[in-house]
Every structure is written in C-alpha cells, then in structure tokens.
C-alpha cells in the first residue's frame, strides 16, 4: 500500500518551499524571467467541488450542508442581495445524506451495488465568482453547477480491515470492563448510607459500653453485644463497599483510556475509509454561466467541463495507477479555447517513500475568444504534454518531504517550464472526496 497515495496528496495543503526554483523559460533567455508557474503536483483528481474547478477559482470555504434546513439556509444566504451574483460562494452537498440514515450499516455502505453507490456518492456543487468591482459598478460574474459521483468504489482496503479488527478487539475489552464497572458500581451502591449507619452503631456501642462498664448496668450487656454484632457486620459491609467503590473508580479510569484509544482508531478508520483498494471510477460534469453585470437575470452559458478519473490501488504491493480524462471548454488560460487532457500516473512504494511518474497529453481546440495567435505573435500550439517524476518521503508526524522534476505544459507564449522542486508538505486538514454523510 502506498504510504502517501496520490489521492491523499490532493487533499492536503501543499506548501512548496522552492529550494530549487523552476527553470522557467528554458527556450527564451532573452527576456526577464517570469515567475515560475505554480506546479500542480497531483491534480489528477478533483481536489474540491467540480463547480469550483469550472470557475478556475478556489473559495475560502465550501459550505457542506448536512440537513435540508442547512441547505436552504446556505442557498438563501448564498443567493446574494438585490439580484446580484455573490462573489466566492461555494456549496457541495450529497442529497442522499441530507436526511439521517438510521438503517444504514457500515457493511451495506462498503458493499453497495452500483445503484446504491449512485445514491451514496453523488454530490452536487454550485459556485460563484466575481472579480472585484471597480468603483461602484458591478462586474460580470460567473456561476457553475456540477455533479460528481463514484461509478466504482473498489473495496475496503487491508488497512481499513486491520483497523476495524483492532477496533473490534478494543470494543470487546471496553464491554468487558464496562460490565465490571457496572458490577462494582452496584456493589458500591448504598455505601454512604451504610457509613452513616456504622457511625450510628459506633456511637450507640460507645454509649452502651460506657454505661455497662462505668454504671454497672448489666441489663444492657445483651443490648451492647447485639449492637457490637451489628457494628461488625456494617464494618464488613462498608469495607466491601469501599473496595467496590475503589474498583469502580479504577475501572472508570480504564474505560476512559480505552475510549481515547477507540477515538484514535476511529480517526484512522475514517481516514482509511476514503482510500479503498481496487478499481475506483470518479466522474464529474458541470456547466458554467456568465452573468452580465453580475445580475442573476442576465445569464448565458459559457462553458462546460467533464472529468473522468479511473484509479486502481493494488492490495499488497503499494501500486497505484491513476488515469485522467478531462475536457474543459472556453478555458481563460488558453484564450477561451477548449482543452482536453488525457493522462496517466503510476506510483509505488520505495522504502518508506513513494515514487510516482506521470504523463499527460493536452490538446487545445477551437479558435478561442482572442484568436489563435499567441501573445508573442507566434503560432499557437494546439498540442502539448507534461511529464513529471515525483518522490515524497515521510519525515515524521504529518510532515513529508517532496521532490519533483519534469517538464510542464508549453505555455501560450511558447515557453516550456521545467519542473524542479523540493519542498515540505505540512499536511494541513483534508478535503473529503467521498460524501461524509452530513
């Protein structure tokens, strides 16, 4: 199994400290070097809602409503005021999970049929973007609507099963100790009352003994003996109850520790659940509209996108294969031309690290909005490729060292940047690829 599968990488924030800057503009050394383009190390899978990808933007936060009420509230707040498209709104929701699924067992979820998968894993996203207004005049805005789902979701990984087995053993231990805790609690119940009665019997016995010894009231002798017997019985009961109370307290501490252990395992389980083994096929599609002057009522369709991402993770040898087929129309980076990417990446474990290589073929279609000529006046190339070799290695905790080299897509001005980076992945947070059920 890959220590750091590519699919996880896309869910992590990648901080590239460019210790070795990319040698951009290898073919054109006469101009001032442009800043190196952002190197998208692993963008085969959508890292966020496809609606955001259609807009070519990233929202500060993505609303993920969990209930119909949350969904309505989010849509109302996101609709904007005065019929104006808001800026930077993004929402993704899985309709099936908007209502609670009490009858859904984990086994049913993992062994879902195709129809069930479509229900479980289909998510709808919307997003908006609007450039900053100049003065008081609202600018054109864009909004996108997209859908994604998993047509195949592999099978639970060996890691997930191992964590599940560990959880089961710990849960059984928890139940066993819970019964002990219950039993000790039952035996310790009434301890306070018994202590009170013991104190009373002690006082009574003292009084009786004083009167028998000092006053010579021999008639109280039998009464004193009965009180003594009751006192001794209560003493034994209190001692037993105290022992049970001590055991209850100690067992409660053990249960707390076991619950903490279960919590740790549960987090690992949740993380492993979204990286199944076998064949996984993620599909997404969406459309984008332009809103003149940012008004909801003045829209026209201006683009669409389709993503097809097949993956295969081997069960034992750490091999991971990812393919991508990606079609986006009217891409602003390419003067509004249409873009088609087809690529493949293979990764495998190398010691504790992961070595992977990728190759993507990109072709551009259509005349675009600004004509075919590039900014340098040369012929606009309609085909380009990208290849890269990537290596990452765990340093400790959530810290990973990453390195890559290769050749990026040829830019519209004819340059072909070299990919050469060394950096650190700090692994902040995670974006869920699968619907979480909320």
């Amino acid at each position: 199994m890959l220590h750091r599968p590519a699919s996880r990488a896309v869910r992590e924030f990648l901080l590239l400290a460019a210790l070795v800057p990319a040698a951009a503009g290898a073919q054109d050394s006469g101009r001032d070097p442009a800043p190196p383009p952002a190197v998208e190390l692993e963008a085969f899978r959508l890292s966020g809602p496809p609606a955001l990808a259609l807009l070519g933007s990233s929202a500060a936060s993505v609303a993920r409503p969990n209930t119909p009420r949350d969904l309505i509230a989010s849509l109302v707040s996101g609709a904007g005021a005065d019929g104006v498209v808001p800026d930077g709104y993004a929402l993704e929701t899985a309709p099936f999970w908007l209502v609670r699924r009490k009858a859904m067992s984990l086994g049913e979820y993992h062994d879902a049929s195709l129809g069930q998968r479509l229900l479980y894993f289909t998510a709808i996203s919307v997003a908006t973007s609007r450039p900053a207004s100049r003065g008081d005049s609202p600018r054109d805005a864009r909004a996108a609507l997209a859908i994604r789902t998993l047509l195949a979701n592999g099978r639970p990984s060996a890691r997930l099963r191992a964590i599940g087995d560990s959880m089961r053993a710990v849960q059984l231990d928890y139940i066993t100790r819970f019964r002990r805790w219950e039993d000790a609690g039952a035996r310790a119940s009434g301890l306070g009352v018994a202590r009170g009665r013991l104190a009373q019997q002690d006082d009574l016995l003292s009084s009786l003994l004083a009167r028998v010894v000092a006053g010579g009231e021999t008639t109280l002798r039998d009464s004193a003996m009965r009180t003594l017997a009751r006192r001794d019985s209560l003493r034994a009961f209190v001692a037993s109850g105290q022992s049970a109370a001590d055991a209850e307290l100690a067992t409660a501490g053990e249960l707390d520790r076991i619950e903490t252990r279960l919590g740790t395992l549960a987090k690992r389980f949740a993380a492993a659940e979204i990286e199944p083994h076998g064949f996984i096929l993620e599909v997404a599609a969406g459309t984008r509209a332009l809103f003149e002057e940012g008004q909801w009522g003045r829209q026209q369709i201006d683009g669409l996108g389709v993503w097809l991402t097949p993956m295969y993770r081997a069960r034992t040898n750490g091999l991971e294969l990812i393919g991508v087929g990606r079609y986006l129309s009217r891409v602003s980076e390419y003067d509004g031309r249409d873009l088609l990417d087809v690529g493949v990446r293979a990764g495998a474990d190398v010691g504790k690290g992961t070595l992977s290589a990728e190759h993507v073929w990109r072709s551009l279609h259509g005349s675009g909005m600004l004509g075919l000529a590039s900014t340098t006046g040369g012929e606009y190339r309609s085909r380009t490729t990208r290849w890269a070799v990537l290596f990452d290695y765990p340093i400790g905790g959530r810290l990973w060292a990453v390195a890559s080299f290769g050749s990026d897509y040829r830019l519209p001005d004819g340059d072909r940047p070299v990919i050469a980076t060394v950096g650190l992945n700090l692994g902040f947070g995670a974006i869920e690829i699968l619907p979480s059920g909320r």
Binding site: K102, G164, I175, W181, E273
Partner: protein, 119 residues
C-alpha cells in the same frame, strides 16, 4: 467516568420455537456486541440471527445485550442500534438512537430482555 448507557428494558414472550437475536448498528457507524443469557456469554462481535435456544428452554431467563458504538464518521456522530428478536409469539424490532459525546467518541447501548413464557 463512562457515559450512562442508552438503555432498553423489555419483556419478550417466547413460544415453543427457536428464538433468534440480531443486532443492527445503524448510521454507518462501527459497533460490537456481547450477548449474555443470565451471566452466560453466548456470543460477541456482529450478531446476526444468533440462536438463543428453544422458547421452553430460555423462558424465565434474562437476555442482556451490550453494544458499544464508536463514531467513525468525520462530521456526523449520530448512532443507532436496532435489536430484532424472532421466534417468539411476535417479532420484536426495537431501536434506540444516540450520539457520541464528541467527535470519534463511543457510546454504550444496553438492552435487557426478560424472556417470558406461558404462566
């Protein structure tokens, strides 16, 4: 200190046939059970159609089912357990719901069935 269990106490009228127990952990959470007839451990783990015995043999005894559920969902900690008893005079399907005290927390569910026969 552990949280109070989500408890269920019910009578279940057995007949003459084989009585069986299933425990379903819902809300896509992870749960494990231990089943006791009086103080005798009958089974643990996933409980699916567990034979408890013929009605005549188990009448008058107490069936106790402990199920601990751990929240394994990233953003939702709803939990539910459903106990299904079959083979008696009627099928009993009883559900209890709860939630983890915190994200990735655990919750104990405890069901006690007094197995009753013809008096």
């Amino acid at each position: 200190m552990p949280r109070k269990p989500i408890a269920l106490r019910k009578d279940y009228a057995v007949g003459s046939g084989q009585v069986r127990l299933s425990v379903l952990v819902g809300d896509r959470q992870y749960g494990t059970s231990m089943v006791f007839l009086d103080d005798e451990l009958l089974a643990n783990g996933d409980i699916d159609e567990l034979p408890l015995g013929a009605g005549g043999e188990i009448a008058g005894r107490t069936l106790t089912v402990y199920t601990v559920v751990t929240d394994v969902r990233d953003k939702k900690n709803d939990m539910s357990v459903t106990w299904i008893l079959t083979g008696g005079e009627k099928t009993a399907t009883i559900e209890r719901s709860g939630s983890g005290a915190k994200s990735f927390g655990s919750q104990m569910f405890k069901a006690v069935f007094e197995l009753t026969g013809d008096e």
